[in-house]
C-alpha cells in the first residue's frame, strides 16, 4: 500500500521574511518539495531605474533591516567601477570596518536568537535568554559593538545613510576610532567564550556533498572584492558571473533561483567563506576554526553556526586592524564624474555573495539594475538538503520532522525579504499598437 505523507509548514519561524515549506513523501521517496517564498515582490530593481546614481546607496539600504551595508557596498562598488572612481586606501579600509560591523550584528543575532533555540529545544530566543543568560548577555554586548560601527560610519544603525560614491559622507575622528578599538579589544575574549558555548551545544551534523561558492581575494579575507571561487574548481572574475551561473524562475517562489551552469545548486555564505578562505583568517579566527576542525572536515550546512562565530572573531580582528592603521583620507569622497556604462560587482553579505549589476546613462542615472541576493542563490541548495533530510525526518513523527526541516532551513539564515524584490513583467501585445503621441 502506498504510504503518502506530507509536511506543510505554513510560515517558517525565525527566518527573515515570509516563506513556507511543502514536502510530499511517497513510499519513502520525496515526490514534491517546495520552499515557497510568497512574500510579495518588492520591485527594487524597477523603481531604482531612472534614479540618480548618488541616491542608490541610501535606497538600497532599505532592502534589508539586517544587512543594509551589503546592499550599499555591492551597489556603490559597481557604480564606482562604471564611473572609473579610484577610492583612497583609507576609504577602502573604512569600508571593511563598516562591513565588519554588519557581520557582527547579523551573525550574533542569527546565532543567539534564531539558531540557538534549535540546539536547546527551546521555543525562541527569549527562552534562551531566560535559561542561558550569560551567553545572551555576551551576544548582546558584542552586537552592540557592531551597532556602534554602523552608527559611526552609516550615521544610524537602521537604514544607514553614510555611504556615498567614492567614500562616505563623514569620516570618524581618530579619537572615535580609538575608543571603539579599545572596546573591541576588551570584548574579543567574549566572542571566543560565546563560540565555545555554541561548540558545547548539541549542534546536529548533516554533511552534504555541496558546492560552496565564495569570493576570494589575493591576500584578504573576502569582503568587498575578489574572484568567485568554489570547492569544485570554479574560479572566475565577478564580471563573468553570467557565464558561470544562471538565474531561473520557479513557479513557487517570488525569488529567482540560481545555479552553477551545468552543475546546479550551490551554497554561499559564512560556511563557504570560511572553508574557501581558511588561509585568509586572522590568527584568532584560524585558531577557532582549528579547534572546530572536525566540524569542517566535510561541507556541512549545519556547521554554518560555527562559521558565523568564527567570522565574528574575524570581523573584530578586521575592525581592529583598520582602526590601528587608520590614516584619515584627504577627503570623505573624491569628486565623481558620472558617465554611461555598466558593471557587475559582488561583495560578501553576512549571508553570502551579493551580486549587483548596474547600467547608467551619460547623466549617471540608473538605466538598469540587477540584484542577486545570497538567499536567492541558496534556495536550490536548501531544497536539495531538505529532499535528503525529509524521509528520515518524517520517520521521527510529523512534529519532529517539521522542527528538523525548519532548523535545516535556518542553517542558511535565509533573508526572504531580501530575496523577493524581483518581478519580471512581460506584456504581450496583440493587434494594433497604441498610437504614440
Amino acid at each position: 500500500m502506498a504510504e503518502r505523507r506530507t509536511i506543510h509548514v505554513g510560515a517558517i519561524a525565525r527566518v527573515e521574511g515570509e516563506g513556507a515549506l511543502h514536502i510530499t513523501v511517497e513510499n519513502g521517496r520525496v515526490e514534491d518539495l517546495r520552499l515557497e517564498i510568497y512574500e510579495p515582490p518588492r520591485f527594487f530593481e524597477s523603481f531604482l531605474r531612472g534614479r540618480a546614481a548618488a541616491e542608490v546607496p541610501d535606497l538600497v539600504a532599505r532592502i534589508c533591516g539586517i544587512c543594509p551595508v551589503a546592499y550599499q557596498m555591492s551597489s556603490v562598488h559597481a557604480l564606482e567601477a562604471v564611473f572609473g572612481v579610484e577610492t583612497h586606501a583609507s576609504i577602502r579600509a573604512l569600508r571593511r570596518l563598516y562591513y565588519a560591523g554588519e557581520w557582527m550584528e547579523s551573525h550574533l543575532l542569527h546565532m543567539t536568537f534564531l539558531a540557538a533555540p534549535d540546539y536547546l529545544g527551546l521555543e525562541d530566543g527569549i527562552e534562551v535568554a531566560r535559561r542561558h543568560r550569560p551567553a545572551v548577555e555576551r551576544a548582546l554586548r558584542l552586537r552592540k559593538l557592531g551597532n556602534r560601527i554602523l552608527i559611526l560610519l552609516g550615521g544610524r544603525s537602521v537604514n544607514p545613510v553614510g555611504v556615498r560614491i567614492g567614500g562616505f559622507h563623514h569620516i570618524p575622528t581618530r579619537g572615535e576610532l580609538e575608543d571603539l578599538g579599545e572596546e573591541l579589544r576588551r570584548a574579543r575574549g567574549e566572542a571566543e567564550s560565546l563560540l565555545r558555548w555554541f561548540a558545547s551545544l548539541p549542534v546536529p551534523s548533516r554533511p552534504r556533498p555541496v558546492e560552496l561558492v565564495a569570493l576570494r581575494h589575493p591576500d584578504e579575507y573576502p569582503m568587498n572584492e575578489g574572484r568567485l571561487v568554489s570547492n569544485r574548481g570554479l574560479d572566475v572574475p565577478v564580471a563573468e558571473f553570467d557565464a558561470a551561473f544562471e538565474e531561473f524562475q520557479v513557479e513557487h517562489s517570488t525569488a529567482l533561483h540560481c545555479g552553477v551552469r551545468g552543475r546546479g545548486a550551490y551554497q554561499t555564505g559564512p560556511l563557504a567563506r570560511v572553508l574557501l578562505n581558511t588561509d585568509r583568517l586572522s590568527p584568532a579566527a584560524a585558531a577557532a576554526r582549528e579547534s572546530l576542525a572536525d566540524r569542517f572536515e566535510q561541507p556541512d550546512p549545519a556547521s554554518s553556526v560555527f562559521a558565523r562565530g568564527i567570522e565574528v572573531l574575524q570581523a573584530m580582528d578586521e575592525a581592529l586592524a583598520v582602526i590601528d592603521q587608520f590614516e584619515p583620507p584627504p577627503s570623505p569622497a573624491p569628486d565623481v564624474t558620472p558617465r554611461a556604462g555598466e558593471a557587475l560587482w559582488a561583495t560578501e553579505a553576512p549571508r553570502g555573495v551579493l551580486v549587483v549589476g548596474v547600467e547608467t546613462d551619460a547623466a549617471g542615472h540608473v538605466a538598469a539594475i540587477r540584484i542577486v541576493p545570497p538567499t536567492s542563490q541558496n534556495q536550490s541548495q536548501i531544497e536539495a538538503d531538505l529532499r535528503e533530510l525529509a524521509p528520515q525526518a518524517l520517520a521521527r513523527g510529523r512534529e519532529e520532522a517539521r522542527r528538523l526541516c525548519e532548523a535545516a532551513i535556518r542553517d542558511y539564515d535565509p533573508c526572504i525579504s531580501c530575496a523577493t524584490h524581483f518581478l519580471r513583467l512581460e506584456v504581450e501585445e496583440r493587434g494594433e499598437p497604441c498610437a504614440s503621441s
Partner: protein, 156 residues
Amino acid sequence: MRVVVIGVGTAHGDDGIGAAVAERLAREGVPAHVRVLAVARPVPDVLDALEGAEAAVLVDATQSGRTPGTVWQPDPAAPRPDRVASSHALGVAEALALAQALGRTPRRLALVGIEAERHGGDTPSAAAQHALPEAVAAVRRVLEGWSAAEGEHARA
C-alpha cells in the same frame, strides 16, 4: 529614582512618532532624574536603554485596530504574541520579554501607544502628528503619577 523615557521607531512614516514624542519632551524639558532617549529598534536598543533604569516609559506607534491618532496605554503585562516570526519583527513586546529574562525589567513600567495610520513616507501622518501633544501629556502624567507615589512612599 532613575527614570528613562524611550521613544521607539525609525524615520519611516508613523513609525517615527515615538521618537518624535521623545524629541518634543526633551525640547520642552523634563525633571533632572528623567533621561529621554529616541531609539530605532526595540532589540537591542530598548534593552540597552533599560539597563540600570528603575522606571521606564516606552512610547511607540501601534497597530491595534483603534482609530489612527488614538493615544492609549497598552498593558505592559499583556502576553506577547506567541512566536517571534522573524528578527525583523522583534518588537517592543519581545524586547520587554527579553528584558525580563535578563533581569532588566524596571520596577515601574508604562507604555504609551499612538495608533498609526500608515507605515511609509518620510514624516508621520497628520493623524499621528495631531496626537503628538496628547502623547507628550500622557507621558508627563505617568511621570507625575510615579513622582507622587514615590513621594508618598518616602513619607510613609
